[in-house]
Symmetry: D2
Subunit: 361 residues, 4 copies
Amino acid sequence: MTMLQDRIATMPPAPGRAFASDNAAGALPQVLDALVAANTGHALAYGADRWTAEAEARLRDLFGPDSTAFLVWNGTGANVMALATLTRPGDAVICTEWAHIHVDETAAPERVAGVKLLPQPSPDAKLQPAQLEAQAHLLGVQHHAQPTVVSITQSSELGAVYTADEVAELCEVAHRMGMLVHMDGARIANATAALGGSVGALRSFTVEAGVDVISFGATRAGLAFGEAVVFLRPELATRAMYVRKQVNQLSSKMRFLAAQFNALLHDDLWIRAAEHANAMTQRLYRLTDELPTVVHLDAPQVNSLFPSLPPAAIEPLREWCFFWDWDVEAHQVRWMTSWDTTADDVERFAAGVRHLLATED
Amino acid sequence: MTMLQDRIATMPPAPGRAFASDNAAGALPQVLDALVAANTGHALAYGADRWTAEAEARLRDLFGPDSTAFLVWNGTGANVMALATLTRPGDAVICTEWAHIHVDETAAPERVAGVKLLPQPSPDAKLQPAQLEAQAHLLGVQHHAQPTVVSITQSSELGAVYTADEVAELCEVAHRMGMLVHMDGARIANATAALGGSVGALRSFTVEAGVDVISFGATRAGLAFGEAVVFLRPELATRAMYVRKQVNQLSSKMRFLAAQFNALLHDDLWIRAAEHANAMTQRLYRLTDELPTVVHLDAPQVNSLFPSLPPAAIEPLREWCFFWDWDVEAHQVRWMTSWDTTADDVERFAAGVRHLLATED
Amino acid sequence: MTMLQDRIATMPPAPGRAFASDNAAGALPQVLDALVAANTGHALAYGADRWTAEAEARLRDLFGPDSTAFLVWNGTGANVMALATLTRPGDAVICTEWAHIHVDETAAPERVAGVKLLPQPSPDAKLQPAQLEAQAHLLGVQHHAQPTVVSITQSSELGAVYTADEVAELCEVAHRMGMLVHMDGARIANATAALGGSVGALRSFTVEAGVDVISFGATRAGLAFGEAVVFLRPELATRAMYVRKQVNQLSSKMRFLAAQFNALLHDDLWIRAAEHANAMTQRLYRLTDELPTVVHLDAPQVNSLFPSLPPAAIEPLREWCFFWDWDVEAHQVRWMTSWDTTADDVERFAAGVRHLLATED
Amino acid sequence: MTMLQDRIATMPPAPGRAFASDNAAGALPQVLDALVAANTGHALAYGADRWTAEAEARLRDLFGPDSTAFLVWNGTGANVMALATLTRPGDAVICTEWAHIHVDETAAPERVAGVKLLPQPSPDAKLQPAQLEAQAHLLGVQHHAQPTVVSITQSSELGAVYTADEVAELCEVAHRMGMLVHMDGARIANATAALGGSVGALRSFTVEAGVDVISFGATRAGLAFGEAVVFLRPELATRAMYVRKQVNQLSSKMRFLAAQFNALLHDDLWIRAAEHANAMTQRLYRLTDELPTVVHLDAPQVNSLFPSLPPAAIEPLREWCFFWDWDVEAHQVRWMTSWDTTADDVERFAAGVRHLLATED
C-alpha cells in the first residue's frame, strides 16, 4: 500500500458541506420564510403586486433615484437582458477571456442578444483600461463590429475585486470612447463585503463610479433563485421591460421572486451573508497556505481559492469532499465557500487536506 | 342616483379571491412545503441533484420511456426552447391567431428561436387539420419560410379542449407533411382534468396521439414557478440541453424547481387541483348563465369564461372584484378560476354579478 | 377534338418576351454600358470609389440634402437592412398580409432583423391609417412586441399606388403613435411614373409625405442587380453602414453596382423606363378587358394585371407564353410587363388571349 | 531638405495600378463580355435560367457529383450562409484569430448565423489540428457553445496555404470530434494556383481532403461580383436554398451572376488569372527582398506580401502608390497583386520602393 493510499484510507471525517460552488448552497432561511409568507391569497401576475413594488423600491434605495430595477430568473438571463437592451445590430462587447458571458453562457449573448464578444487576456479576470483603448481602431470601421459595451465582472471569475477607483477609470475610458459599462455582479455581494461591507461601498464602485447597468446577483448570495438587472440611468431602461419578456425572464407569479429579494435586502442580510462566505475562504486559505504542496494564488479577496495540488491527490480529495477542477492541465482546482459554510466545515476540510498533502510526516 | 349607481353602492361582500388569472393564485401548500424541505445542505447546481433526477423520472413516468424532460423557468421560455430545438434557419411555425406564442410573448419565438409564425384564424383558438393542409403550397419554395412545426395549445387560449382524436388527426396531417407537433400545455392540467382526469387521459392526447414535444405547464397548475419541456422522442432531445442554457432557462439551484414538481406530480395532485379549478368555472357558469345580460360562449370545458357584459357594468364590477378584459370592443371579459378558488368565492362573485346585472328588479 | 384543343393547335405566333415578371427582363443597355465602362483600372473596394460617390450624390439629389443612401445587393437585403437599422429587441413591424417582407422573404425580417411582423388584411395590398390605430392597444404592454415601424409597399404587391396624400396620412398617424415609416419601393419607379412621372412626384409621396426610410428598387427598373436603402433623416442613418455589412449587403467591387445606378438615374431614365412598362400594361388591359372570360380587377395603375381566367385555358396559355399564377383557387394569374416589353409583345399576347378565350366564335 | 524629403520629391513614375487589394481590381474582360452577352431577352428570375444551370453544372464538375453549388452575392454572405446551414442553436465555430469571419464581417456570423466563434492564435492564420483537439473539453457540457464547425481559410488571411495533407488531417480530426469543416475560399483560386494550378490540385485539398462546405471565392479571382457556396455532400445541402434567401443572398436576375461564373470557370481561366496574380507577388518579393529596410515574412505563396517598413517611409510611399496598413504598431503593411497587375506595375513599384528605401546611396 502506498503512502497516498494509506492516507486515503485514513481520512478524517468529511465536512457537512462541500466546497463546490456558492450555487450548491441552499437558500437563506429568512429568504424561504419570506417566499412562503408571500403565498397568501391572490396577487396580480407579472409584477403588479406589492412584493415586487417593494423589491424594486429596495433596489432603488441601493442604487439611487435614477436607477430602475427589473427582477429576472437567472444570471445568464440578467446578462443577456442587459446586453440586449443596450446594443443594436453591429455591436460588440468587450470582456475578458474568463468572462462568464464568454465562457459559460452557451453563446446566449451572441445568439439572443446578437452581439459579438471581444474577449481580452487577463491574469485575474479583470479588464484593464488600456485594453479598452486598444480597441479604438475598430471604431467607425464598417467591417468591424462596434464595441459599444464593456462588461466587467465584480468580483471577477478568478476572485479578484475591482476597487472603486479601478471601476471609475474603466468607466471614464469607456464613456470617453462612446461605450457603456455593464457590471456582471453575480457575486456583487462578495465584492461589497470585500470593499467595506456597506451600501456605501456598493455605491462607490457602481453608481458613483459611473457604471451604467448591473446584473445584481442574488442567487449565490442566498436566494433560491432570482437576480436583478439594474439600469442606473433612466434613459437606458425605457425598452427594458420588453427585452425582459423577450429573453424569457419575466416571472408570472413574481411575488415569489420579489419576496425573497425583500428578505435578502432587509438589514443588509446580503452583505452579512457574503462577509461570512468571504471569511470562510480566508480561514481556509490560512489553514492551507503553509502547506508547500498547496500552491495558492494571492490571498483571497472573496469566497474562492484556486490552488494547484499534487496531481495524484486531486481525485481522492474530491471523492472525500467535492470541488471542481479549474485548469486540469495545471492541476488547479477551485474551492469555494458560501453563506452556509461553517467554521467546522472549513476546519474539517483543511484537516483532510493536511492529512492527505502534508509532506512532513 | 341612477339604478346602476344605486346597485354599485349596495354590492354584497366581495370574494376573497378575484377572477383575474390562474397566474394570480399562489402555490399549492404541498408544493411550497416541498420547496422548503429541499433547502437542506448542499446539492450540485444545474440539475445534478436528486430532486431533479426524481422530477425527470416522474415526467418520464407520465410520458413514457422514450420521453426526455427538461425543467425550465416559465412558459415563454418553455415554448421558445421547444421551438428553437426543433427548427433551423428558414423555418416557420403554424399556430392560431390566438396562440400565446403569437400574441403574448413579445416576439420571443421570432427573435430568440428565429422562426416565422403563420397564425391562422380560429373561433376557439383551436387549429384545424385543413389549416395545415392549406399551407402545403409553401413547402419547397425558396421564397417562403418552411412550416416545420405546428404549435397547438391545450387547453386553448379560449378555453377549448382538443380531444385525443383531434390531436391525433392534426399529428397525422402534420407528420405526413413533414412537420413536427408542439403542444403548448400551459394549461395541460386543466385539459387532462377535462378529458378524464387521469394519466391515461393525458397520454391519450399527447404521446399516443403523436405529439412530438410538450411545454408542460406547472405554474398555473400550482407551482410558485416552473414548467417543463418534454420531448417525446429521444432523437428530438439530443441538442435540448444546450438550447435550454442558451435561451436562459437553466436554473442553478434547480432543486428548488424540481422539488415543487415532485410534490405537484405526486398522487396526481396536479390533476386534482385542475379538476377543482375547472369545477369552480362550471359552477360560476351555472350561477350566471341564466342572466340575459351575461352572454357566455359555449359551456366551459376548463377554468375560464369569456362573457360579454353590459358596457356600463364592467368597470364597477371589476372595481368590486378584479378580472381582465378580453375584447374591449365586444365588451367581452375573462373570468378565470384557479386551484385555490373556493365555492364561496364563486358564490359571492355570482351574487355580485346578479346584484349588478339582474334585469328583473 | 374539342374547341379548346382546336384553338390551342392554332395559336398565333407567341410574343418575343413573356409576361412573367419585371425580374425576368434583362438590364437596360445604358446600364450595362455603364457597368462595362467602370471596368477601368483599380478602384478602392467597399464604396471608396468615384462611381459610388456619384451614385450617393444622385440619390441625395433625388431625396434631398438630409437623406443618406446606401447601395445594396437586392430587395430582401434592402428591406432587412432598413428594418434592422430602425428597430430594437422587442419591436414589431406593421405591414399588409401581401407584403413582400411577409410573404416572400423566407422570414429574413424575423430572423435577421429580429422583428415580429403584424400583417393586416387588405384587398389591394395597401395599408389603411385605421389599421395603424387599431394596434394602439399593443403599445406599452410588456407582453406584446411593440409596433415601431410601419412598412408600406409602393406600388403595392397588387399593383395599387398610394397617393401622396395617402402616404402623408399614414406617416402622420404613424409618427403620432411613435412609429417610423418604411417604404418598400421595389417598384417605386412604376409608382413615380403613375403619379406624374417626375422627380417632383417622387418627392411628393416620399420625403414630403414624411416617409423615414425607403428601399429604392432599381433591379426591376432596369439594373442587372442593385437596390438602395435611403434614410431620409440623418439621425436614422448613423448605424446603417454597420448593419449593411452585417446583413451581407456590402459589395466589394461596388463601382459595378454604382455605375449602373448612375446610368439609371441619369436624365430620369428610371422614370421613362417605368412609364413604358406601365403603358404596356395599360395597352394589354385595353386589348383584353372587353373579353367576358377575362375578369380584370380595376384598371391598372402600374405594370401588372391580375386577371381571373377560365380554368381550362390557363395551362395552354401559359405554355404558349409564360406567366405566373397568383391565386390558384380563384383561377387568378398575374401578367406583368417590364421596361423591355414591346407593343408587339403586347399585341401578340392579346391576340393569343383573344384567340383562346373569345366566346363569340 | 532631408534625404527622405529629397527622395520623395524625386520619385519615379508610379505604377498604373496600386497594390491595395485584389478587390480593387476590376473584372476580367471575358467575365464582363459574358455578363453583357447574357442580356438577351427574358429569363425566369431567381436562378431558373440556363446560365445558372450551366454555372451549377460547372461547379459540380469541379467538385464532383455529390456536390451542390449555390451562387451568392459576396464573401460575407457566402460564409454566413454556409455556417447558418450547418449549425443549430448552441453551436460554435472554431477559426483563427485572423479569420475573416472573426475580424472583418461585423459580427454577421454571430448575429445572422447565431454562432459563437472560438478564435485561436496563429502566426500564419492557419489552424493546427491540436487546436481542435484542445477544444474537446467543451463537448457535451451544457454551459459551453458546442464546436460543430471548423472554419479554415484557404489561402489564409496572411497568405499561407494549407497543403492537401494539412487539410486532410484537420478534416480527420474534426470529423472524429463530430465537427464539420468549412473552407473560406475567398482566395481559393490563388491557393489552387499555388498547389499545382489544376482542377486536380483543387480537388486534392477540398473534396478529397474531406472538406464539407466551401465558400468558393470568385470576386477576387476576377468577377465583378459573385461567390458560390458549395456543399460537398448532398445531405448538407437540403436546407441551403432557404438559408440563401433568408440571409439575403438570392439574386433575382441571377443570369448576370451565373454568366460571369461560366466565363471564369471556362478553360480554367480562374486558375490562370490567379497564377498571374501569384507570379506578380513573387516578382515583387524578389525585387524588394534584398533591401534591408524591407523586412518580409517568408517567401510568398500567393498574392500578398506583409513587409515591415521604416515608419517614416510608409506614408510617402502610400501617397505615391496606395496600399493598406496591416499592423500599424509593427509598421507592417500589405502589398497585394491581382489578376490585372502587370509586370510593369511591379517593376515601377519596386523601383519606387528602392528609390525611397535603399540605404546604399
